[in-house]
Structure formats: structure tokens, C-alpha cells
């Protein structure tokens, strides 16, 4: 009797304090998401484009994935055993995982997928340290590395061009020809180019039993929604109007002023996503004015970061010049540089710059072009003469990534790397990739970081990297920016992340 009363009292207490199951998840319904562009490929290995990730990471999963804090945790694997010398990784796979075509996932599929990625994946260099991959059992995969790599699990779980696990028959197909068959909570239905991609809930999906809730790209991915349609709507005004009129339930990207209008509206939820990327200014250090340290420093000193970011990303920026995002264990608060025109002029005078016209390349994305416009204005105040060359992405990236001539400065977003971690952030500057001239200090730091397992030593190495970037003005990190997402209030439990996750959310 006493026990029953106790139980009753406990239950009453639970109900009153709301500590019981507070969510009333409802299964069912369709969600339409307005996205800025169409994925260039539905083959997850073939592309590192953000819009491709948005879709593919609903359909596919990886061995290890990043959690909410961007740390690598098991997803399709149950766990890993690493040998004492750090060269052998033994992955134990989860059992009972089904592909969308009903087939069970085995080690053969994992090996095939990894080999495919190693050979021709979009970011194959991420797993370049692998020496061999083999199935050491029906649910076991052994990976041997050539050298110790402290960041291996991080690389394996990189969402950039995810090392998705697909059936071995699909993995045998050429890049771009694999069908969209994965293990994820949603399965592919149709793709109409220029229009939309539709995915539907995969009822054979079993959420990872090791987790209770969603956690970044890992965790328990429970799908309540029936169908998700990603609509390609490159025109911002069309997306903005569509969410207001209920044509779509989630606008994946919009800007501050537009989102502000809907702030108080009970029918919508405005979700700021910050940080999403960092805005960086790169110099061509192989030729021209960029070879001169004083010139680079002068430009950096002439910048008013607050003005740049406020114009490009109104209401959704944060001045933070660390090369990883706040929240990461490697993040350190760095001094915010203030615009100092006098010093900048003096530094410029020490350089070899004689007033010649410089080329500043950007691709035709409004915030990026605006960033360049403000920078152009700011540096003109110290006498630097810059011409902004706007072109589409293929032209701009082709020039910036492959050519030593034809450009002096380039600005664009640096999104996934700071999220993935210090090694990712550093890798862009290794071997002179980003700045077109190798910096031996950075190359050395990167190598040391990769073979260093001790986190404290790693942190110090990263600080050294950030100092080097700053001292040598190799590139300027102008700050974090983000985006606003606008959804109908009916979409419950939505939490913004690197992709608009449609698991763990429901319509009510």
C-alpha cells in the first residue's frame, strides 16, 4: 500500500514537474525544404558540395560520424580497437543494419565503399594514410595505416564528401553512377533536375541502439516525417515568399533583414545558425603584390572587420579570428584586430607596392561580392588600388586553385574545415594549396599535429599555426558568419546543424 502511494506520489511529481516524456512525437506528414541549388551529384563520394550533403546524409551513413560537438563517434561501427603502435584500426560493425534494397550490411560492403573512396572519392586525400583495408570477419573491418595519424577517426568521419557506406555492387560502379542506396533513415525516391529531390522514410531503419537521441550526424536518428522534398530555389525572394505562403516548411537559407520580419510571428520560427562558416581573404603568395609580407600586413591592418561582416552578413556574424569555431577544444580567444589606417599606411610604405592595379577575384554570391566591395573601399584609403572581378564559381575557383597568375586576392567562405577541427583547418594551407606558395612552418606543424596523440601538445601546435597565419598574414580570417533558417512553427524539435536534419523532428 505504501509502495503504491509512493509510486502515485512520484508519478504525480513527475507529471507536475514535466520531467516525464515531454515530447508528444507525431508520426507522419510531409516537409518541403527550400534549398539554394541542386546537388551536382547524388553519389555521396563524388562531391563535397554543401547542397549534396544536405540530401545525401539523410540517405547514407558512415562508419564513424561527428557528434553535436564535432567529435568522431561510432555510427555504423559499434566501436574501434586501435593497436598499441597506432597503425591498426579494428572496426566492429553493427549487426542487423539493412540497406534500402533489403540487403544486410556486411564487412564486404564497407571494404568496397572504402576502397572506392580511396581510389576516386572527392576528398580521397583525407584517408590517404591508409595502407590497406580488409574484411577480417563478416562484421569486422581492419584498416592498416602507413603512418600514425592522430586525426584518422576525424578524417574517416568527415562529413565533407562523406565516406558513405553503400552496397558492394554499387561501390563497383564508376564514380557518379552509383544508385542512391544507403543505410540512412530516409531512402531516395526521385530526382527532377532543376526542380526537386524527394526522399521517404525507410521503415526498415533501426536507430543506433547505443544512443537515446540524435547527436550531430550520429546518435539515434528517428524519422517521424513521411516524405521530405528538397526544392531547388536559387532565388532568395522566391524562397522567402514560399515559406511565408506555406509552400515550403523550411527555408534553408535566408538573410537577417528578411528573417527579422517574421521574428514575432507565431506561425514561424526563425533559427539563427551561427557559426556556419568563416569569411577568409586569401593572398596569392606566388606572384605579384602578395609575395610581399609588408603588403599583406598592410592590407590586414587596413581592414575594419566589423564593417565588412555587418554589410555582408547583417545580424548573423561574430568577429572571431580563431581558425576553429568556439566550442571546439582547440578554440582560443584571440585578440580582435582593429582597423589602423595609420599603421597600415606606414607598413605599405615599407613594401614594394607601387600603386599598381590588383585583381581581387570573387564568385557572384551577394555576400561575397559585398565583402569584396567593402574591402576594396577600405584598402583604397591607404592607397591600394583593387579591381573586383566577379565571375561564376567555375571561373573563379579554377583561377584561384590552379593559377599563379591573374589574381592577387580571393575571398570566399571557409565552412566545413573549422567545424571538422584543427587538422582540417590547417590542411588547406599545407603545401601552399590555399596561398599558392608552401610555408615550411605550417607544413611542419601539420605533420607534427597528425602524428601527435596528446591533446595538450596538439593544442599548442594549433596555437603556433594560428600565430604563424597571423604573423605572416598568409590569410585573414575576417570572422564567423552564419545564416538564418525559417521554418513553420508546426515543425517541432528542429535544431539547426551543418545540414537541415529531418530526423528527430515532427509536424504538429
Amino acid at each position: 500500500m505504501k509502495k503504491t502511494y509512493l509510486t502515485l506520489a512520484m508519478s504525480a511529481l513527475l507529471v507536475l514537474t514535466g520531467a516525464g516524456p515531454a515530447h508528444a512525437q507525431k508520426k507522419g506528414g510531409d516537409v518541403v525544404i527550400g534549398m539554394t541549388a541542386a546537388p551536382p551529384s547524388l553519389d555521396p563520394h563524388a562531391t563535397s558540395a554543401q547542397v549534396a550533403r544536405n540530401v545525401n546524409l539523410h540517405i547514407f551513413e558512415t562508419l564513424y560520424a561527428r557528434d553535436e560537438g564535432a567529435r568522431p563517434v561510432p555510427d555504423l561501427a559499434e566501436g574501434v580497437t586501435i593497436s598499441a603502435d597506432g597503425l591498426t584500426y579494428l572496426f566492429k560493425l553493427r549487426t542487423g543494419v539493412k540497406f534500402h534494397n533489403g540487403k544486410d550490411m556486411t564487412s564486404a560492403d564497407v571494404v568496397a565503399s572504402l576502397e572506392r573512396y580511396r581510389k576516386s572519392g572527392a576528398s580521397a586525400s583525407l584517408i590517404g594514410a591508409i595502407d590497406s583495408v580488409s574484411a577480417s570477419g563478416p562484421n569486422q573491418v581492419t584498416i592498416k595505416l602507413k603512418t600514425v595519424q592522430s586525426t584518422f577517426l576525424g578524417n574517416l568521419s568527415s562529413p565533407r564528401a562523406p565516406i558513405a557506406i553503400m552496397p558492394s555492387e554499387e561501390a563497383a560502379k564508376d564514380m557518379g553512377k552509383a544508385s542512391s542506396i544507403g543505410t540512412g533513415p530516409y531512402k531516395f525516391v526521385e530526382y527532377k533536375p532543376d526542380s526537386h529531390i524527394k526522399i521517404t522514410r525507410f521503415d526498415g531503419y533501426k536507430p543506433n541502439p547505443a544512443y537515446k537521441e540524435r547527436d550531430g550526424f550520429a546518435g539515434a536518428k528517428i524519422a517521424y516525417i513521411d516524405n521530405v522534398t528538397f526544392r531547388f530555389m536559387p532565388e532568395t525572394s522566391a524562397r522567402d515568399a514560399a515559406v511565408e505562403t506555406g509552400q515550403i516548411q523550411l527555408n534553408e537559407t535566408t538573410d537577417g533583414p528578411t528573417a527579422k520580419r517574421l521574428k514575432g510571428n507565431p506561425n514561424f520560427q526563425v533559427i539563427p545558425v551561427l557559426p556556419f562558416a568563416a569569411m577568409i581573404l586569401k593572398f596569392n603568395m606566388a606572384q605579384g603584390a602578395g609575395t610581399d609580407l609588408n603588403f599583406r600586413r598592410a592590407v590586414a591592418q587596413a581592414l575594419d572587420l566589423e564593417e565588412i561582416m555587418a554589410v555582408a552578413y547583417p545580424d548573423i556574424y561574430r568577429i572571431d579570428t580563431s581558425w576553429v569555431y568556439g566550442g571546439s577544444a582547440y578554440h582560443s580567444a584571440r585578440k580582435t584586430p582593429k582597423q589602423d589606417l595609420a599603421t597600415a599606411k606606414a607598413t605599405l610604405a615599407k613594401s614594394g607596392y607601387k600603386g599598381e592595379k590588383l585583381t581581387f577575384i570573387v564568385h557572384n554570391d551577394r555576400p561575397t561580392v559585398d565583402t569584396a566591395t567593402v574591402i576594396q573601399q577600405q584598402v583604397s584609403q591607404i592607397g591600394v588600388n583593387m579591381e573586383v572581378k566577379v565571375a561564376d564559381w567555375p571561373t573563379t575557383s579554377n583561377l584561384g586553385l590552379k593559377s599563379d597568375t591573374g589574381w592577387n586576392l580571393w575571398t570566399h567562405g571557409f565552412g566545413i574545415e573549422p567545424y571538422e577541427g584543427p587538422a582540417s583547418a590547417m590542411s588547406h594551407w599545407v603545401k601552399g594549396q590555399g596561398q599558392r606558395k608552401a610555408d615550411p612552418v605550417i607544413d611542419g606543424l601539420f605533420e607534427k599535429f597528425n602524428s601527435e596523440m596528446n591533446v595538450d601538445v596538439q593544442k599548442k601546435l594549433f596555437v603556433d599555426f594560428e600565430n604563424q597565419m597571423n604573423d605572416q598574414a598568409i590569410a585573414v580570417n575576417m570572422g564567423n558568419y552564419g545564416l538564418f533558417q525559417v521554418a513553420t512553427s508546426k515543425l517541432k524539435n528542429f535544431k539547426a546543424y551543418r545540414i537541415p536534419r529531418m530526423w528527430g523532428v515532427w509536424l504538429d
Binding site: G176, P394, N398
Partner: protein, 314 residues
């Protein structure tokens, strides 16, 4: 007439060949390629090269050009590098959409334009004439993408009557199809209406001043009958010639309208292909557009001959 058609068809071949040459010329000069669309800014030059190789873009230009012509003669326009389907499929998927938009805009502009032109001609010199023609001229002078943007703002956000974009297939839901096409149709038609109205008016004025019209009036026939049966029918001839140009203009205008309203038509396909360097789609798409343009011209000339017995073909 058969000989005329055959001769015209034969004459189109060099034109189409020139079109493909011009396109190849531009593609040869244009920097960049679709590899960069696959990869984001963190890509390495080496990754770009790898993707380029996968896409077969590292082979010599002339080889790729020759291959394209060979395939063309077999009726194959190739495969899109970014859309995961054949170029022909990509075009055919979008054709009905652009046709819906262009046809609707055509019908609306002809109906409204001809009506306005006739009314203006009948009330020549009076207030109605002035105001209708001013409206027509106004319509001609508006940048259509700006009109589209403004309409999106006014009618989709401020007073949400029509949806701001997208496309719903007629087969799926006729009412939604019409609603979604309402704003873009109006945007496109706005400008063409002006042309049709002015053309109709000047043509009508000329016809109505002719002797046979005076005779009809003298015979005591009712005015509406005279205007329509005698006037309009004879005035249609120059209007029909203009229709060919109109279709060309509508197709060109559709390109931009589709962009503003996010309609997945041919225009967006081609612009998207140009901006992302999807070479096969650019080649095939432009050739296809040229084909449509030439066909419409041929149809207009045939129609012209059918209406006006004085015109001898060839």
C-alpha cells in the same frame, strides 16, 4: 508548297551548323569547367584534376568536338555532366514547362493585345486610344525581371494571392498549375502585349481606311461586323508575322522569368548549364533552341502564305 518546305529545311542545316560552331567557339574560350561545381573551395588542384578526368574533360578539345558531331549524327546529344541524365531527357523534361509558360503568355498577350489594339484603332485619336497606347508603351519599357521581382513582393508577400514560384504539372493539379503560372505569365505577357497592341492598332488603322471597308459601311452592315470581319481579319496578316518574333522574344524572356520565379524550364536549364559549365547541356540546349526558333519562323511563313493568297512562297 512542299518544295518550299524542303528548301527551307535544307537551308536551316547550315544555320544550325553555324550555331553549333559558335557555341563550340564560346565553350573553347570560356574558362572553368564543371569540376569546380562538384567540389567546394577547400578542394585541391589535384582533386579538381581528378574530377576533370572522371568527367572526361582532360581530352583534347577537338577530339571532344568531333565526338559530339559524330554522336549528333546518330541522334544522340550526349549526357549531362551534372544532372545525371541524357541531354535529350533533360530537355524533354523541361520542354512542356517552358511551353506552358510561353503558350499561356502568348495567348494572354494576343487576346489582350489584339483587343486593346482594335479598341484603340476604332476610337482613333480619342482618350481611349491615347491611354491604351500609353499603357502599351509602358508595358514595353518595363524590365521584365524587375516586374517579376516587384510582383513577387507585392502579390506573393504583401497580399498573398498567387504563389511566388515553382511549377505544378497540369496533369497533377490543373488549378495549382494555373495559379503557379499566373504571375510569371503576366510578367512575360506584359511586354509582348504592348507590341501586339501597337501592331494591331496600326494595322487596323490602315485596313479600316481602305475602300472596301467604306463600301461595307455604305452597304449598311453593322459596325462591329465591319470592324471584325472585314477589318481585323485583314489586319491579322502583319500581326502573324510579328508572332514569329514574339515567340522568339517570349522564349528569351522566359529565360529570365524562369530564374526569378524558380520555374524549372528550358531557360533555367540553359542558364544553369552556362553558369556551371555543363558543356553537353549547353551544346544540346542551344541547338535545340535554335531548332525551335527556325521551326517557328517556318510555321509563321507558312501561316502567312495561308492567310494571304497574294504571297507566293519561294
Amino acid at each position: 508548297m512542299g518544295r518550299f518546305i524542303i528548301r527551307r529545311l535544307l537551308a536551316s542545316i547550315p544555320v544550325l551548323f553555324f550555331v553549333s560552331l559558335i557555341t563550340f567557339g564560346l565553350l573553347w574560350l570560356v574558362p572553368g569547367d564543371p569540376a569546380s561545381i562538384f567540389l567546394d573551395a577547400s578542394a585541391t588542384a589535384e582533386a579538381l584534376d581528378r574530377v576533370r578526368h572522371e568527367l572526361g574533360l582532360d581530352r583534347p578539345f577537338l577530339v571532344r568536338m568531333g565526338e559530339w558531331y559524330v554522336r549528333l549524327l546518330q541522334g544522340d546529344l550526349g549526357t549531362s555532366l551534372l544532372l545525371n541524365r541524357s541531354v535529350t531527357e533533360a530537355i524533354l523534361e523541361r520542354l512542356p514547362i517552358t511551353l506552358s509558360l510561353t503558350a499561356m503568355a502568348f495567348v494572354v498577350s494576343v487576346l489582350l493585345g489584339v483587343t486593346a489594339g482594335v479598341m484603340a484603332a476604332v476610337r482613333h485619336g480619342r482618350a481611349a486610344d491615347q491611354s491604351l497606347m500609353s499603357l502599351a508603351l509602358l508595358g514595353l519599357s518595363i524590365p521584365e525581371f524587375w516586374l517579376g521581382l516587384v510582383l513577387v513582393w507585392l502579390v506573393a508577400v504583401l497580399v498573398p494571392i498567387f504563389p511566388a514560384g515553382d511549377y505544378v504539372a497540369f496533369a497533377k493539379d490543373p488549378l495549382q498549375w494555373a495559379r503557379h503560372l499566373a504571375l510569371p505569365t503576366f510578367t512575360l505577357a506584359c511586354i509582348q502585349m504592348g507590341f501586339v497592341a501597337r501592331m494591331t492598332r496600326s494595322s487596323m488603322l490602315e485596313v479600316l481606311s481602305q475602300d472596301f471597308v467604306r463600301t461595307a459601311r455604305a452597304k449598311g452592315l453593322p459596325e462591329p461586323y465591319v470592324v471584325l470581319r472585314h477589318g481585323l481579319v485583314n489586319a491579322m496578316v502583319p500581326i502573324v508575322t510579328v508572332m514569329g518574333i514574339m515567340v522568339g522574344a517570349l522564349l528569351g524572356g522566359a529565360v529570365v522569368t524562369e530564374q526569378v520565379f524558380s520555374i524549372p524550364g528550358l531557360g533555367r536549364l540553359i542558364i544553369g548549364a552556362v553558369l556551371s559549365r555543363d558543356f553537353p547541356v549547353i551544346q544540346g540546349g542551344l541547338l535545340f533552341l535554335a531548332l525551335i526558333y527556325l521551326s517557328v519562323n517556318l510555321a509563321v511563313d507558312l501561316l502567312y502564305a495561308a492567310i494571304d493568297p497574294r504571297v507566293r512562297l519561294g
